[in-house]
């Protein structure tokens, strides 16, 4: 039940952020689907026994792959979809809890949540980078192939 709510919420949330970021037309729906699928990957890898940062990493790889494919098909920059699709992975609750515990002078929990926030942010960035480097290498191989 909780998972179902999360999937629906990540769909609606990605649509909301795609409106904030100024996407238009069918891009909005595609961003929503991407957001839900990305969270689905996160849930799946979590279910298969990955730790949270690892699950987030795989989800980020999937999200960037999805955005890159769409960007290629629709001939738009990759950034257009990327952030709306990945938004559900952003550790909003950890950041909030870190703030909250810091105010309550609960150092341990504040630190734990702050570290979790950074770890997840790093996992997302690494996921994006892996896709970026892969597509760069792919493009280079392709252009070399054309020259020969």
């Amino acid at each position: 039940m909780k998972e179902l709510i999360q999937l629906i919420a990540s769909f609606v949330g990605a649509i909301g952020f795609s409106l904030i970021f100024g996407l238009h037309g069918k891009q909005i729906l595609l961003a929503g689907i991407g957001g839900a699928c990305t969270w689905g990957v996160c849930l799946l890898t979590d279910f298969l026994g990955c730790s949270l940062p690892l699950a987030i990493f795989f989800a980020a790889v999937f999200g960037s792959f999805y955005s890159e494919c769409l960007a290629k098909i629709l001939r738009v920059p990759k950034t257009v979809f990327l952030f709306s699709v990945l938004i559900s992975l952003i550790p909003g609750s950890n950041l909030y809890l870190a703030m909250r515990y810091a105010i309550e002078v609960n150092r341990e929990l504040a630190m734990a949540n702050a570290i979790e926030t950074l770890t997840v942010a790093l996992a997302i960035s690494l996921g994006i980078i892996v896709m970026l480097v892969t597509s760069q290498i792919q493009a280079r191989i392709k252009s070399r192939g054309n020259r020969n």
């Binding site: 909780k2 709510i5 999360q6 629906i8 919420a9 990540s10 769909f11 609606v12 949330g13 649509i15 909301g16 952020f17 795609s18 409106l19 904030i20 970021f21 100024g22 996407l23 238009h24 891009q27 001939r75 738009v76 920059p77 950034t79 257009v80 952030f83 990945l86 938004i87 559900s88 952003i90 550790p91 909003g92 609750s93 950041l95 909030y96 703030m99 909250r100 810091a102 105010i103 942010a121 790093l122 997302i124 960035s125 690494l126 994006i128 980078i129 970026l132």
Partner: protein, 265 residues
């Protein structure tokens, strides 16, 4: 003399105009949320397609700097100071296809400038869309992080408060730190108030959902990405900006919580 060589001459004569156009496009790509690497690439491509033999571009999130060398030895250097970076993917997309068109079709400078100003007019982002987006996102993420139905019903109102204060502080202008702190102050006050009136059941859940609109999560991710790619300065700048924003949010939240939190609940 053939037509192309006339156009070639026309291009050479207006080296400064070409660099200005390239910077206009680059600046707007940066302002609508494009990556630093894309900005550098775009400026380089536009200058090269109009005949620059060597172009050096340096872009960070607050500055674009370009020096172009033309075949006749003319050297043009221009720079742009970038203030407020936002997110408008529609504009980014259209500018990107404009720069692609400039490189393949090589329109005259006047034509390119006209197309550019048309894009700028056409792709103005509408505040209605941003408002609807904020309401949807806040509601969705309140549910996402475990809020119950009551919280989800309160969340859009808190999001509207956030949107209103963002709109207001943008109108007034002024300090970014202050406006972020004000947003989070008012949002927390609204959430505490709603919970005190028994409209919502948990301030935490409402705020976690609504704070997703405010937190610089995207900037942090973007910054770390820049750092890893090698755009170190751009990455460091956006990382520290994001940290400052997070501090501002925490400050506004803390003040609001200690004023209203104990008082009302």
């Amino acid at each position: 003399m053939s037509l192309t060589s006339v156009r070639e001459k026309d291009r050479m004569a207006d080296a400064a105009g070409v660099v200005r156009l390239a910077l206009d496009v680059g600046e707007q790509i940066l302002l609508s949320g494009g990556e630093v690497g894309r900005v550098e690439d775009t400026v380089l491509r536009i200058c090269t397609s109009y005949g620059a033999v060597r172009t050096d571009v340096f872009a960070i999130t607050s500055l674009v700097f370009v020096t172009a060398v033309w075949e006749n030895g003319e050297i043009v250097t221009q720079s742009r100071r970038i203030k407020e970076v936002g997110k408008c993917m529609r504009r980014l997309e259209e500018l990107n296809s404009l720069s692609r068109r400039i490189c393949t079709e090589r329109p005259t400078l006047a034509e390119a400038e006209k197309a550019f100003s048309e894009i700028m007019k056409r792709s103005e982002s509408s505040w209605v869309k941003v408002l609807i987006g904020s309401l949807l996102a806040a509601t969705a993420y309140t549910a996402f992080f475990g809020g119950d139905l009551k919280d989800c019903l309160v969340a859009p109102f808190v999001a509207a408060v956030i949107f209103g204060s963002q709109f207001l502080t943008k109108k007034i202008g002024g300090n970014k730190f202050f406006s972020q702190a004000l947003c989070s102050f008012l949002a927390t006050a609204a959430a505490s108030f709603a919970v005190a009136m028994h409209l919502g059941s948990s301030v935490d859940h409402i705020m976690i959902g609504c704070i997703m609109i405010l937190i610089p999560g995207i900037s942090v991710t973007h910054a770390v990405e820049n750092l890893i790619i090698g755009d170190t300065i751009a990455g460091l700048i956006s990382l520290s900006e994001a940290l400052v924003i997070a501090l501002a949010l925490a400050g506004g939240f803390a003040l609001s919580q200690s004023l209203f939190g104990g008082l009302l609940i």
